[in-house]
Assembly symmetry: C2
Homo-oligomer: 132 residues x 2
Amino acid sequence: MTSTDPGPLRPTRQRRAVAEALASFADFRSAQEIHDLLRQRGEKVGLATVYRTLQKLADAGEVDMLRSEDGEAVYRRCSESHHHHLVCRHCGATVEVEGPAVERWTRSMAAEHGYADVSHTLEIFGSCPACS
Amino acid sequence: MTSTDPGPLRPTRQRRAVAEALASFADFRSAQEIHDLLRQRGEKVGLATVYRTLQKLADAGEVDMLRSEDGEAVYRRCSESHHHHLVCRHCGATVEVEGPAVERWTRSMAAEHGYADVSHTLEIFGSCPACS
DNA sequence: GGGCGATTGAGAATCATTGTCAAATGCCTC
DNA sequence: GAGGCATTTGACAATGATTCTCAATCGCCC
Ligand SMILES: [Zn+2]
Ligand SMILES: [Zn+2]
Ligand SMILES: [Zn+2]
Ligand SMILES: [Zn+2]
């Protein structure tokens, strides 16, 4: 090991608040939206702290982060296993989808061309039944 | 038709310059990098114009745009047919990849959940052989 | 050459995100 | 239960990509 283990996050009021907020909605939301939500609930948490917390949670794999069609980072508490998303571009309604074949395909493409250390992003955008 | 056809883009010195720049490299580059490239070549083109031109080309499907891992929009002249990318996260080396099965899969996922008007993004990031 | 809508460019304006740094807070030890 | 100390926070400044503004230019057609 070359680096010191950062250890688990220290539990603070702010981090708890963000975690609770994340548990309270099912669509993808931006840091600013989550900050607003906290404010409405009467929780005082600095915007910078919301950004920092979301980033750490994303690094730890506890939330999923993706970029909306206009490039903003948005976050959502998801299931543990690797999956992708079907996102309504109007209301944000999200469905988690899994595709083992897709996973295999990305790996084989990377291998075929000698790429190492591979990651991938795959999102599907559309209009959900309610918004169509 | 509900809207007036905007018609083809008027050919200007600036747009030609951007098109030539795009033809001169094979990796994905940001608007700013393309602007720098133009400047080095002695072409005077405003940064805003580079942004506008790239956007129009992307809308017209003449270039591909994707977001690098840190969220910046990057552009590349690609082949006509629908495809995805295997991108080196260090040097930008890019391989176009096609996967009919993936296309079918995204369509069927969307259909299964009643999503209409579907689009998808799929990119693979890794370290190319030269950078590994 | 003139008319006119499309295009350009320099700079200001936006806006998400990150950096700064002093003050506040968990946690551990005594 | 106080003290020491590294972590965390928050108000605010700073950054950086992208977009907007609008007068000056340009391409196209007569
Ligand atoms: Zn997810
Ligand atoms: Zn996957
Ligand atoms: Zn492409
Ligand atoms: Zn490389």
